[in-house]
Symmetry: C2
């Protein structure tokens, strides 16, 4: 038996802190275990009782003469270290620490948590919590949580980092008849974290998908590794709170965690094939589609409706995802013309008109299922005067059963009593049913997204470029205590990784200009480790046409620099070939406490932070995800088509540059920050025109997230 099996599939449980006081958590846990119908052995422990609810109560763990697989601990956290010791001595292998009062309350709580972790480690005890609501395993009828009664059995696992939401969602789910295999309140994650938990749950036959409400990760690497193993098999769908700056602040004060930047969570989910839901409710909307229908193979979706208005709403929603409705082929159009009345919309949305009888729905759906011009169908039914909702539902179910198509059909049914019977029939018969067109569209798009990310991950490759020259240069800089590299030094390093730069030469003296080999026009810039804002210092001169002008510029720049900052160490003037107009992009890297080094790509120039059109990923960047980083930005559309006088960018070459920057970071995690801005791109021409590197002295922080 695995450690996690003791926890989630215990043959015997000790409930420590069992009580007869009904307002106490220890009573609620007891009641839920008993009501749930758990068939294993249950031992109650509390020195103050002899008997509770007709069950014998043990004074201590010692007293129990049988093996205990799982201890559920509902005593004040201060006592938990002591309890953990006893459990260890007894040979108990797993525990759930319900008790609050850990690091969410401050320093003292954090210390207490650490102590508990150390004791548990000593004895090899794995535990959930502290500060959690417990868990539910419906397969063995074990309801070991104090917040909610037992949901029905199902094949969905649900993990919540908020105990309150855990209880609320279960309360709601019981009303809605939503089934689960496992429900886990993960608490403070002092020991068991998301990573191992998803790894374990994904191996269970009755876990077909994992839903997560997340506020923060603790061990990103463990999550990433496990997720990468899980998502090729089953989907992980995550609602993460703390999207906004204020939300992150609220989450941090709530959980006492280092939260990490929200956009890096999104990037990590992408890179590991997890789907991010727009809201907590959307977790369950997605489950509807994932559990009942095949995954869409592409993102060409067709809307089949008996009402124009909701068709428009669905179209608007597709657009929110930057998707237009699929273009119907002339073949499909012809077929539809034959079975639909002449006033049908003759376009996607396929509006089969308000008086559509069940047969018309069937015929149109049949054609769309057969057509190869779409990857999924979003049906809409409104109960109009001629509509027969139930009969339509029967026709649809019959058709889907006959066809056994590998194309998904999601159905949005708007209304109340008139459609209730149809809704129930469809749900029973594995049609994904939604209340609004928007929910159906969101779910369809995200189920495609899952399939898409999976395909990226499955056929991916990583290539890492190396440069021993740069490695030793960086070592040398750090040895000399130099952390801010000049443009010239940065470009040397970029070049050593095959990142194209415009020709850049450092002139130490004016005399070197005579022998200079460079194509005019050029730009001259001051080179000084003490001058960061070169333009402000009068240290940049553009449009230099010849050597004579360059000499004048050299003198002017040196003079300006001296006036600007007397004590500035001046290395000379760098001269670079002036690059013709192109897209101004940015490639950067920075560090996050939680996620370590990360990469950024997007719209560059002065307004890059205002425009905020950037994508993120982690080194080492793989081939597929290098392209994905580019495609995620809005500027990609311009890059592909060209803009004004700028020709379309060579995307392959651009992806290659991204991979080379990724290699540079991966090989040299001492780089704390890197900025190439602008990277000027025009057709095949790509040049890192300006750049800077900041190194980090602290060797203990030179870490790369291992994906």
């Amino acid at each position: 038996m695995q450690a996690f099996d003791y926890l989630f599939h215990p043959r015997s449980i000790a409930l420590i802190g069992a009580t007869a006081k009904k307002e106490k958590v220890g009573y609620a846990l007891l009641k839920n275990i008993l009501d749930g119908g758990y068939k294993g052995k249950l031992f109650l422990v509390n020195p103050k009782y002899d008997e509770i609810e007709g069950l014998k109560v043990y004074k201590s763990i010692d007293e129990i003469n049988e093996d205990i697989d799982l201890a559920i601990i509902a005593v004040p956290l201060k006592i938990v270290p002591e309890v953990m010791e006893e459990l260890g001595k007894k040979g108990v292998k797993s525990a759930v620490v319900i008790s609050a009062g850990g690091r969410e309350t401050g320093e003292e709580g954090r210390r207490l948590e650490d102590e508990i972790v150390n004791i548990a480690k000593k004895y090899g005890i794995r535990f959930l919590g502290p500060n959690c609501f417990g868990f539910i395993n419906t397969e063995i009828n074990l309801n070991a949580n104090f917040g909610s009664s037992m949901p029905i059995k199902g094949d969905t696992a649900f993990i919540s980092q908020s105990g309150a939401l855990f209880a609320s969602i279960l309360d709601w789910a019981i009303n809605e008849n939503i089934g689960f295999s496992y429900c886990v309140s993960i608490g403070n994650m002092a020991d068991i974290e998301f990573g191992e938990l998803i790894g374990y749950l994904s191996k269970k036959e009755n876990v077909k998908r994992i839903l997560i409400y997340m506020e923060s990760l603790k061990n990103v690497e463990s999550f990433a590794k496990n997720a990468l193993n899980v998502t090729p098999k089953i989907p992980i769908i995550i609602a993460k709170a703390g999207r906004s700056e204020h939300g992150i602040k609220a989450a941090v004060s709530h959980t006492g965690a280092i939260a990490g930047k929200d956009f890096l969570y999104s990037a990590l989910f992408k890179r590991t094939g997890c789907v991010r839901a727009l809201s907590v409710e959307a977790l369950f909307d997605l489950t509807e589609g994932f559990s009942k229908q095949p995954l869409p193979k592409g993102n060409r979706f067709v809307i089949l409706t008996n009402a124009g208005g909701p068709g428009v709403l669905a179209t608007d929603r597709l657009d929110m995802w930057n998707l237009g409705p699929a273009q119907l082929s002339s073949e499909t159009m012809e077929k539809l013309n034959k079975v639909l009345p002449p006033v049908w919309s003759k376009n996607n949305p396929v509006d089969i008109i308000g008086d559509a009888p069940p047969e018309r729905y069937r015929k149109a759906l049949d054609i769309l299922l057969e057509a190869d011009d779409n990857d999924g169908i979003i049906g809409i039914m409104t109960p109009q005067f001629m509509t027969k909702p139930y009969e339509t539902a029967v026709e649809i179910v019959n058709l889907l059963n006959e066809k056994k198509s590998d194309k998904p059909f999601y159905f949005s049914i708007i209304g109340g009593q008139k459609v209730e019977k149809a809704r129930q029939f469809l749900e029973k018969n594995k049609v994904a049913v939604y209340e609004t067109p928007e929910e159906a569209v969101d779910s369809m798009v995200l189920s495609w997204k899952y399939n898409y990310l999976k395909s990226l991950i499955e056929k991916d490759s990583v290539k890492i470029y190396k440069s021993s020259e740069s490695k030793s240069l960086i070592k040398q800089y750090l040895k000399n205590g130099k952390t801010l590299l000049t443009e010239y030094e940065t470009k040397k390093i970029l070049q050593s990784y095959g990142i194209p730069i415009n020709k850049t030469i450092l002139l130490k003296t004016i005399g070197e200009i005579n022998d200079l080999k460079i194509n005019f026009p050029v730009v001259a810039k001051i080179s000084s480790p003490d001058i960061l804002h070169k333009t402000e210092a009068g240290g940049v001169i553009l449009n230099i046409e010849n050597k004579q002008q360059l000499k004048k510029a050299f003198e002017e720049i040196i003079e300006n620099a001296k006036n600007y900052k007397k004590e500035a160490r001046i290395e000379g003037v760098i001269v670079e070939e002036q690059v013709e107009k192109g897209f101004e992009l940015i490639i950067g890297s920075a560090r996050d406490k939680l996620f370590k080094q990360y990469l950024m790509f997007g719209f560059g120039g002065v307004y890059t932070e205002f425009v905020k059109d950037v994508s993120f990923d982690f080194p080492p960047l793989s081939k597929n995800f290098a392209y994905e980083m580019i495609k995620e930005t809005k500027v990609y559309k311009l890059l592909k088509k060209g803009f004004r006088n700028i020709p379309p960018a060579n995307i392959d070459k651009l992806a290659e540059v991204l991979i080379r920057v990724s290699s540079l970071i991966y090989e040299n995690p001492q780089i704390e920050e890197l900025d190439i801005n602008p990277l000027i791109v025009s057709g095949d021409n790509i040049y890192a025109v300006d750049g800077r590197i900041k190194l980090n002295k602290k060797t203990e922080e030179h870490l790369i997230l291992k994906l």
Copy 2:
């Protein structure tokens, strides 16, 4: 009696096309009228019957010897002109044309509609439809629609442009016990449109708000005028479909209307004080808050929760609206410290911890209601182990009843059976209850938005600048067949309206340079009506430092222009003072078929269309809405604070420039397009540096939307 009173409050109805065939619309209408309990007189008309459901049937309208207030017409549209004639002769004053087959089916249908309109006009008949589901007036128990049974009585009016959604929403609303005073399916709006209808409904005592599902307007002016009268009294909440390009296409094909640009709908709603809901469901979320709680006086919102997670979700959602949570004053903090346990969040969200008893909720809410550091409170309750949902609800209701605060309290309760009783109690007692924190936040923000727009409208003023010089210039240009004005000509016009430009002089010959009075450095540009892309033609030279360089530039530009386009008419070279760095903004105007001239303001420069940070409004721009146009953009944040070396912009001066541009357009609607790009802004310095005007020859199109 007003014409609309005959329609919505008829003392007698003729149902033309009444039938005993249960699958026909004429039967459904009859059944609904009878089931609804209408107390007025009902006459059935159909030559094929003597009696239906025990009621006498008349062969024709003529046969009825009494006055008829309203005719409901459910015969094929082809026969409707004939019916309308008969109604006119009989002196009937109002009608509902249920029949489909109008302009939504194409040219023939459009012709038929026009014919019906003409006949109705001749006799002074006002009518709803065609292609509509009818209407409901709950006050007189009149259910004159064929799609839905009778909802309960309430004080909300609902207008739907989609018949299918009308029926679906009513079916759903009946299940949810949502009350209405009027429900109107507005159909093709051949006669009665949104404008007059909202004007009429708003005057009814039992209409406290108007909800609209809209796909397109027909008469924008009528809508605008009526909305401006209505929104200072009661809110108009609109879910408009067709947000996206594809959505608009779908809407147009569905309704056969000229849809107009979606962003202009948003601008019109703003300008007329209407609130745009994010979805159809949100109409009803908003109704919850509007109908039960006071309007927030500002947008400083505080979140009061017993659970961290949902508090984070609410914070994220506030951020989506660009609002941070309100900053709690030290006074409020102190008061909360006194009544809350030491581990409370000590921040907004005010997390009163999972074990919060009803009294703690009450005390915290009391403090927040009294505090002047917030304008509204979003409560969150999750059913945790110690939570007493019902008792908490009672405490809250008692407190709210005692306080009679003019501050809104919205309550999000997450869960199922455990919170059901609390939810029902709260709803009965005028607390606005929501299922998710997001819905509560959206509704709170939009109810503030309504109040905010109302205040803008109430204290607004319009000033219109005039220039007879420009008026005659434009007249002259059009007379000469000139529609594309050069930069020089455009700037002359801008200047006459007091819009600041950088000094710009047209040099016809090189000789004029000797006497030129201008501050160097200058820019020289080709001036030719035949060269649009000046830079491409080699027609722009920057950084000219003195007259000698200018002479050289003059020659070069003329030569380049000749090489670029042999036959180009060259007016000379314009010389302008080079403007120092600043924000590059855009002010523009264009025309829309439906909305006429409109104004645009936002982030300018080359990437203006990519960045898409622009706001819209209509001339004549008022003072408040000029500021609003600026504040709506994201670049406003930079303008206010300054950016890099650019000092903060003088917003007052900028608003004044917008009003002057608006005046220019308002006074000269012959301007089809105007572009000032860039408008360079740096502190107090504002210059229209480049611009162009396109005139429109067609005098019949020189219209301004009258607000």
